[in-house]
């Protein structure tokens, strides 16, 4: 009995491939393809083995919160104004999973800020002027990806579009404030694992490219134009459905 149960399962797994392995409850597969205990009516020739049917994984919805650290591509510029070209952001989003098999789509919003100092570039060196300002970056990303692995532990990779709103604010000098939006794209890859029945923790790496042009200030002086970066993000996801 045990052996007869195992054979169709193996066949089904081979047919579906590794993508199915993670999600497919074994009992479902077994129930659908287990042969009847009673043989069917006699046939003139033995029936060909039925191709096992894998029901699509259940669609689901996750909401998540995220904290990320991003090493900005415009290294010289951000290194000059803030000593470290790094943006720490917080945010969250939603993820529709298993839209088509293991395909998911995700919408996320994160925001980060940097305390910075104005300055000028003289002979390639940054000279701070002592006038502080705040940099803000709000990032909206929409994209999708594919999960590999099981329901409890999975790896994923994806890509999508990035919309980044960039702001500069200086107390007392509103005419110097900047608010720009730039488009780009991102790619990410990571893994998550279930730590409680509906609660997941994930870690992913990402790369964003947001071409903003040189502008008229320090990015121009340093010959940089990318407001994106590469970084890592930790996610805390709750499976709503």
């Amino acid at each position: 009995m045990r052996a007869s149960l195992a054979i169709p399962v193996v066949l089904a797994v081979l047919a579906v491939g590794p993508a199915a392995q993670a999600q497919q409850p074994v009992t479902h597969v077994a129930a659908s393809v287990v042969p009847q205990t009673k043989p069917a009516a006699p046939q003139t020739k033995p029936a060909a083995p039925q191709k096992p049917k894998t029901p699509p994984p259940r669609r689901g919805l996750r909401v998540f919160g995220a904290a990320e650290i991003e090493y900005l591509t415009a290294t010289d510029t951000f290194d000059a104004v803030s000593d470290l070209p790094v943006l720490i952001g917080y945010g969250g989003g939603v993820e529709l999973e298993n839209l088509i098999r293991r395909l998911f789509v995700r919408l996320s919003i994160t925001a980060g800020a940097i305390n910075a100092e104005h300055g000028l570039v003289v002979d390639g060196s940054f000279v701070p002027t002592g006038v502080p300002f705040d940099i803000g970056m709000r990032t909206v990303e929409f994209g999708g990806g594919w999960r590999f692995g099981r329901a409890t532990k999975s790896f994923y990779a994806g890509a999508g579009l990035t919309l980044r709103k960039f702001t500069e604010k200086t107390d007392g000098f509103p005419e110097e404030d900047v608010a720009e939006s730039h488009n780009g794209y991102y790619a990410n890859a990571g893994f998550d694992f279930r730590v409680a029945p509906k609660f997941f923790v994930g870690l992913e790496g990402f790369y964003r490219k947001v071409d903003a042009g040189e502008g008229t200030a320090l990015m121009r002086d340093f010959n940089e134009s990318d407001l994106g970066g590469a970084g890592a993000r930790i996610l805390f996801a709750f499976k709503v459905k």
Partner: protein, 527 residues
């Protein structure tokens, strides 16, 4: 294996969380806050500013120092003969290591039994006095041939680079609006009191209202006169520091400085007359301290010296201001040795002047930024101007051209490859001049017998003399913000200049017009 992967994931998560926690303080670092007060530019409607009258009887008269008879005679002869140097004087710099015997040998080429003691020394410069009547240019040429001598030149009389002009319009300080100074002051608030700006010019009267006893000519005889003098009400006396009059002596200049011309007071006013005090006009670096160094004599200085020497009559017609190279270079060195961080030099001439060049190099090496006027001779053959043309060779000294209100080149502003930067200097043909408080012109008129130098008006001048102090004022603000290297100050001013004329650096505007706000504020990531 799954357990291993799980542990790996947990470890990575913990590491990342730790990194986040550790990284956080670096993003929270505090940058010094800039206070943003509301700077109120004082009304410019006040046409006349009087120092409160002090009754004559209440004041004790002291003798006003005047230049020596010998020096006065040299100035007079230069005026009469139309010379651009003082006759009977050659400025010499001996090479290092030249001893007394070597110097005596070198000077012997002038002929006669000239003793090395026939000289006056200050710094590493020697003034050789000659009464033979030989042209100093020829004497200097002979001396330059001597192996002990680094250079020799006549004591060139440099000229002030401005032309007074009557006002004909109401918007007086368009120059400060053009430079967006109110916003610049929001950052630098008039500069710091520990920054000293030296003004090498006709002086800025630093005495409180008082009487000075002078000899002068009353039309019939030399008489003793109680000359009324007093500082501008738009300069708090406590802001003056270490004033000196080098027109009287290069080696022992007296500390009482009287501006008998008005040019120095006007220039000093642009650099930093009191501001936001509800009185008269504004200056750029209105909190810094001012070092008035008189190196240019005016008509009345000659008159008083003549009368003191017993010479009857008045200076010859056409006697105007003049600035001996010996006096200006001594003033530059004095400023450098006594704490000045910025120096304005609205003076120039047409002859190469290694004496002044040396002094400027010395000053910059001591941490002094120098702004100098570019020259006003565009329509007079546009000759190469000195020391302006030395500007590009000294990182930390800038030659300043003049722009008018429409951001065009002022019609008089000299042009050349030496031009480094531009600032408002006025243009009477365009109907705009630079307004500052200075001595009342009618009180100092050469038509008078008894002038007075204690009453002040708002006066409109034009010239690269007026452009240069804008740059000096900006440099003082930058120094106040911690940019203390003269070469860096120059670089910041150039970097933030508004390009005018042909793209990039050009002969008319150099790198363009100064932008004080941008230089002080800097740039952000995108703006």
């Amino acid at each position: 294996m799954p357990q291993t992967r799980f542990m790996l994931a947990v470890s990575c998560t913990a590491l990342l969380s730790g990194a986040l926690v550790l990284a956080e303080p670096q993003f929270q670092r505090q940058v010094p806050t800039v206070r943003v007060p509301n700077i109120r530019v004082p009304s410019i409607a006040t046409p006349r500013v009087d120092v409160p009258t002090v009754p004559r009887g209440a004041m004790q008269s002291i003798a006003m120092p005047v230049m020596s008879a010998e020096l006065m005679q040299a100035h007079l002869e230069a005026s009469v003969r139309g010379l651009d140097y003082l006759p009977g004087r050659v400025l010499v710099k001996f090479k290092a290591g030249a001893g007394s015997a070597d110097q005596a040998r070198a000077l012997s080429v002038l002929g006669g039994d000239r003793a090395v003691s026939d000289v006056e020394r200050f710094g590493d410069l020697t003034i050789v006095k000659d009464s033979s009547g030989v042209d100093p240019r020829e004497l200097a040429a002979r001396l330059r041939q001597q192996p002990e001598i680094e250079y020799a030149q006549p004591d060139y009389l440099l000229e002030l680079h401005s032309t007074p002009n009557d006002p004909s319009y109401a918007a007086r300080q368009w120059n400060l609006s053009l430079l967006n100074m109110p916003r610049a002051w929001d950052i630098a608030q008039g500069g710091a009191t520990d920054i000293i700006v030296a003004v090498v010019d006709t002086g800025i009267t630093m005495l409180p209202p008082q009487l000075l006893e002078v000899k002068t000519w009353d039309g019939a005889a030399i008489v003793t006169h109680q000359l009324q003098v007093g500082h501008s009400p738009d300069f708090t006396p406590g802001r003056f520091v270490l004033s000196r009059d080098f027109t009287i002596s290069t080696t022992a200049p007296p500390s009482n400085v009287i501006d008998t011309d008005g040019h120095g007071t006007h220039v000093g006013g642009t650099i930093g007359q009191d501001t936001n005090n509800g009185l008269a006009l504004a200056g750029i670096a209105y909190n810094v301290r001012i070092m008035p160094l008189k190196a240019c004599r005016g008509y009345w200085d000659i008159q008083f010296a003549m009368s003191a020497a017993g010479t009857p009559g008045r200076p010859p017609a056409g006697t105007t201001t003049g600035c001996p190279s010996s006096a200006t270079s001594a003033a530059i060195r004095f400023a450098a040795d006594n704490g000045a961080r910025v120096l304005n030099y609205s003076i120039g001439g047409d002859s190469p002047n290694p004496v002044v060049l040396d002094a400027m190099r010395y000053a910059v090496s001591k941490g002094v930024f120098i702004a100098m006027s570019n020259g006003n001779d565009f329509e007079d053959g546009n000759p190469t101007k000195y020391p302006a043309s030395y500007g590009p060779t000294i990182d930390g000294a800038m030659a300043v051209a003049s722009v008018n209100r429409a951001l065009g080149r002022s019609y008089y502003s000299s042009t050349g490859s030496w031009t480094e930067i531009a600032a408002p200097g006025g243009d009477s043909r365009q109907g705009n001049t630079i307004w500052q408080t200075s001595i009342r012109s009618s009180d100092a008129s050469t038509a008078l017998f008894f002038p007075r130098f204690d009453r002040y008006d708002e006066r409109g001048f034009q010239g690269t003399s007026m452009a240069s102090p804008h740059v000096a004022g900006l440099a003082a603000l930058l120094m106040s913000r911690g940019h203390t290297d003269p070469a860096l100050v120059e670089a910041l001013i150039k970097e933030t200049a508004q390009d005018l004329g042909s793209p990039g650096q050009d002969d008319s505007f150099g790198h363009g017009m100064i932008q004080p706000f941008r230089a002080l504020f800097g740039r952000g990531v995108r703006r």
